[in-house]
């Protein structure tokens, strides 16, 4: 039995797999991409969002597999375009740098190279289509070739009469240019045989084909340029210029990582590409997450397609009608948290840990809480009696949370404890909306449950019964993938790897154990972090920054009195943040450690804040929530300490200040880390 999710990247799939594993419920993706649209498109997305799969699927070679070569004439006429996919990586355009040549020299050479590159692709695709359409005899090939040769100012010396010979001529020019560019490493001069202006071949070849070859009349040539982030600034300017000065029948779809567009400038003076007029923007993972796209259905169907492909049909007992249900049932379900907590409490003698924590906090700060009505040990005992609610650990935990809130508000704590006791009783019987516990649990229920597990020391060393249980199950993994389908596939890959290693039947009901699931989700989380290929010194700083902010959010979330529920977001004013911090934030966003939310909260009038959240796939390592609700605001000073400081001292100070406000005695006294409770040391991250 093999892992149906072994290959996780579109780049690893061959064209047959791209075809067979394509899923597009309701043709949403076709509508999003609009391959025949004349207006160019920038497709930005995080790693694993599906850019490559999308662009490759709509390219001619894959469409030919889908529909069959003999159907391509009608298909291309119906859809109105020929899709030509190419990747920027692998051509190593960094050859066109340095070697003691000036930028302007490289600009001219790269521009010529792009023409040869695109020209060959356009020619090859058109030739394939013409052959598939049996249209080789439908036009005067000599005449077409004569026109193509006319695109060059200088006529080639060799005789070129056929399209195949013309293609070979372009290839020869490319190889000659490659050879000279490569020999420039040895300080040999570059003297290309020909030079051609930008756009001559890119626009000229399709125009000639459209006018001279009947089957290509009114057909658009759409260039899908993938991995755009691999081009340097000057090289992107070159292709941006083609975009801006686009001529029919050519258009472009450019795929790039977030922040992969190094520039929007063109070679036309100071002109920049303008959204709306020069291009339209598709934020792929944002759109996949949005309501208009049923991501859950998409993710499920993709998994089923993989399973069916890997097994050359459905596993035993599965069929088209029940496959989704059978898939969901293969994963062992975890116990509800309250059930787990009750079982753990039964093994203990004495109070629950959260009641013990209240006792410790009050005892440690008797000198402070004296002003709040606590004068002696008997008062502490009274408070604990009022907070206890043995029959329901969640209510009891919430009682302590409300109590800490009263402490922070400097209320009389004996009276507060009495109110809390009444509220707990009311909640257990028939809660009203204004009930204290109801109001808190409406927002903080997930946090309370996780805090109970943490208080019981049920972190990752305990395995899937503890905090890790919050990250298990298909629905949770779909939410954790957050519109990035590869993250979901990768989680499944690791889970299935463990299940297969343990000999678990991966297609039977409840066969994939909680242990395999938890091991798999942790491996997937580690993979996600290690897979980031952030280059140079940014890598170290991005790693450190992600750890810092994630640890800060974790400590706030597990503090006695978190101010926000389901805390995994932070907001910054990028305009006032230092350039270095901003660069690291953007690098972290480019590599999808942070995801930009749509919210742009205004703290002060006129102030625009950018809200970012930790990628949910990072969450298991820091016990952060998968669903994002709560947010902390970071000042410019905070950003400097978290994202730009080379040493940890600045960050530690910020962390102490913020966590101190959420921890007894809830003043601005910096907490003493030497004596911090174990709650804050959940894992050695």
């Amino acid at each position: 039995m093999s892992n149906p999710f072994y290959l996780t990247r579109a780049a690893d799939l061959d064209d047959n797999q791209i075809t067979k594993l394509w899923v597009d419920p309701s043709s949403n993706l076709m509508r999003m991409l609009r391959p025949a649209s004349r207006l160019p498109m920038l497709i930005l997305g995080g790693r694993g969002s599906g850019k490559t799969h999308l662009l490759r699927y709509f390219s001619y070679p894959v469409q030919r597999r889908v529909y069959g070569a003999d159907k391509m004439l009608s298909h291309v006429r119906d859809t109105g375009y020929l899709g030509i996919h190419t990747r920027c990586m692998g051509l190593y355009t960094n050859r066109f740098t340095a070697k003691r040549m000036s930028e302007s020299q490289w600009q001219a050479l790269f521009s010529f190279y792009v023409e040869l590159w695109f020209g060959q692709l356009i020619l090859q695709t058109a030739l394939d289509f013409i052959k598939d359409a049996n249209a080789l005899d439908s036009f005067d090939e000599n005449d077409v070739v004569r026109q193509l040769i006319g695109l060059f100012d200088d006529k080639p010396s060799q005789v070129i009469q056929t399209l195949t010979e013309y293609s070979a001529f372009l290839k020869h020019l490319q190889r000659d240019l490659d050879g000279q560019v490569n020999m420039a490493s040895f300080r040999q001069p570059i003297c290309p045989q020909f030079l051609i202006n930008s756009g001559r071949l890119t626009f000229g070849i399709p125009k000639i084909f459209g006018e001279s070859i009947p089957c290509l009349k009114e057909i658009q040539f759409t260039l899908f340029i993938d991995e755009y982030e691999h081009l340097y600034v000057e090289q992107q300017k070159n292709i941006n210029t083609l975009l801006r000065e686009r001529e029919n029948p050519v258009s472009f779809k450019i795929g790039a990582r977030l922040h992969g567009m190094r520039t929007y400038q063109t070679w036309g003076g100071d002109e920049e590409l303008k959204e709306g007029s020069d291009y339209e923007l598709l934020n792929l993972d944002v759109d996949l997450r949005s309501d208009k796209f049923n991501y859950q259905e998409f993710a499920t169907e993709l998994c089923l397609a993989r399973i069916k492909f890997e097994n050359s049909g459905w596993p035993s007992g599965w069929n088209d009608q029940n496959a989704a249900l059978m898939f969901a049932k293969t994963f062992e379900a975890s116990l509800p948290v309250e059930e787990t907590v009750r079982l753990q409490l039964q093994k203990r003698s004495g109070d629950s840990p959260w009641i013990e924590n209240v006792s410790s906090a009050l005892t440690a700060h008797l000198n402070v809480v004296g002003k709040l009505g606590i004068n002696n040990a008997q008062d502490v005992v009274t408070i604990l009696e009022r907070l206890r609610f043995v029959d329901n650990p969640l209510i009891e935990k919430t009682s302590t949370f409300i109590f800490y809130g009263a402490w922070e508000d400097q209320q009389n704590l004996l009276e507060a404890a009495e109110s809390i006791q009444n509220s707990a009783l009311e909640y257990s019987l028939k809660p009203k909306p204004e009930n204290l516990h109801a109001k808190k649990l409406n927002h903080f229920s997930e946090d309370m449950r996780d805090q109970m597990l943490a208080d019981l020391k049920m972190d990752q060393n305990v395995g899937p019964k503890g905090l890790l249980s919050r990250y298990l199950g298909v629905e949770t993994w779909i939410r954790m993938s957050d519109g990035i389908i590869r993250n979901f596939i990768t989680t499944l890959k690791h889970v299935y790897d463990w299940a297969l290693f343990r000999g678990e039947g991966i297609y039977s009901s409840s066969a994939i154990t909680l242990s395999s699931q938890s091991q798999g989700v942790l491996d997937a989380s580690r993979w996600f972090i290690n897979d980031a290929n952030v280059l140079e010194s940014d890598r170290g700083m991005v790693d450190a920054s992600v750890k810092r902010i994630a640890n800060l959010l974790r400590k706030l979330r597990f503090s006695e009195k978190p101010s926000e529920c389901s805390l995994c977001r932070f907001s910054v004013n990028l305009n006032t943040t230092s350039p270095q911090a901003r660069r690291i934030i953007e690098a972290a966003e480019m590599w999808s450690f942070f995801i930009r939310d749509r919210d742009r909260r205004q703290r002060n009038p006129g102030e625009q804040l950018t809200v970012l959240r930790i990628n949910p796939l990072v969450a298991p390592q820091y016990y952060l929530p998968v669903s994002a609700r709560g947010n902390i605001d970071l000042s410019a000073e905070d950003c400097l300490a978290i994202f730009a400081s080379q040493n940890d001292a600045d960050f530690k100070r910020i962390e102490r200040e913020k966590v101190g406000r959420c921890t007894p005695p809830f003043n601005k006294r910096l907490i003493d880390y030497d004596n911090e409770p174990d709650l804050l040391r959940l894992s050695s991250i």
Binding site: Q124, N533, E536
Partner: protein, 326 residues
């Protein structure tokens, strides 16, 4: 060139294993000895014992060596250039080659791209032959956890080893052959850069020291996810560049019908780096083949302890030319 299961022309090239106590006797009579300075015992001790009229240290900025730590023996050439071609060409401009010079290069401390470019350059100018030596350590200081390089700045072809690549419409013609080593970041970077390519892994086996094979496999396994489609795993001795070259030749020939673009990345031992270079010089010039490398701005200058033995490889460019099909 003849290569078949029984014989290969690559095996015509000479190599010799030298015990540390025989270095002075066996590595003598050179006009020029070139080494790259780092503070490891195996580099410094060998430098002191090799007998040559002129002994040159190349001081690479990637090792971040303070001026006060420069060696007091031999002639130091401080490398200022950023790129490997400029670094080597500047060195040779400062210390021009003389016709007939007997040259010995210690590859042990050499930054890989610079070593590769130097050999490429000597091949280009039709230099007849050069001895390249490599000193095997007793062990790496931190075993499989040894960190060799700093953060990766870019992945690109080594200058002089840039091919002329096509961009076929079909996606399955790119092949990446990786000489798998210890550095997971490097393997990760190169695999992610060529995520579309079909991968072939070459492991140094027999390894330099018996325990190193396990360590090597552990490190490679850590980035197996990045490798994706691995079509084949093969083996070539970690100490033998010529068998490495033969292995590459065999693998590429076996897949010749499927390969549109070939990328080679030697991330294992220095002798294997030489092997990749040798194969490239024999078969890949002016072809759609590049040697690509994940470049780093810094390298750890002391990763090993001890000196177990020294290998000498005779890189005979004349012989290579004579057996290579034009």
């Amino acid at each position: 060139m003849i290569t078949n299961p029984i014989y290969s022309d690559y095996l015509l090239f000479e190599k010799e294993s030298i015990k540390p106590q025989d270095i002075g006797a066996k590595l003598a009579g050179y006009d020029r000895f070139i080494s790259a300075y780092n503070s490891s015992e195996r580099v410094c001790e060998v430098f002191k014992q090799v007998v040559a009229i002129n002994t040159h240290w190349l001081i690479f900025p990637e090792y971040q060596i303070d001026h006060s730590d420069l060696p007091t023996f031999g002639t130091c050439h401080i490398v200022n250039a950023v790129e490997e071609n400029d670094a080597i060409l500047d060195y040779l401009a400062s210390f021009p080659l003389n016709a007939g010079e007997r040259i010995c290069i210690d590859s042990t401390g050499f930054i890989r791209p610079h070593l590769m470019f130097l050999l490429r350059y000597l091949h280009l100018i039709k230099w007849p032959s050069v001895d390249v030596i490599y000193s095997e350590p007793e062990r790496y200081k931190s075993g499989s956890r040894t960190q060799f390089s700093d953060h990766i700045s870019e992945v690109r072809p080594v200058r002089g080893f840039e091919g002329s690549h096509s961009r076929p419409l079909d996606s399955d013609g790119d092949y990446l052959i990786v000489g798998c080593g210890y550095d997971t970041d490097l393997m990760h970077a190169i695999s992610n850069t060529h995520k579309q390519a079909i991968k072939i892994q070459v492991f140094p086996f027999p390894p330099l020291r018996p325990h190193m094979y396990q360590e090597n496999r552990l490190k490679t396994e850590q980035c197996q996810g990045a490798f994706g489609r691995v079509m084949e795993q093969c083996f070539a001795p970690g100490y033998d560049p010529f068998v490495t070259a033969h292995t590459l030749d065999r693998v590429v020939t076996a897949n010749a019908g499927s390969i549109d673009n070939l990328y080679l990345t030697p991330l294992a031992t220095k002798p294997q780096v030489l092997g990749f270079v040798w194969y490239y010089l024999a078969k890949c010039i002016n072809k759609p083949v590049s040697i690509v490398f994940p470049f780093s701005k810094g390298y750890n200058r002391e990763t090993s302890t001890g000196l177990s033995e020294v290998w000498r490889y005779q890189m005979d460019f004349n012989l290579l030319a004579s057996i290579t099909t034009p």
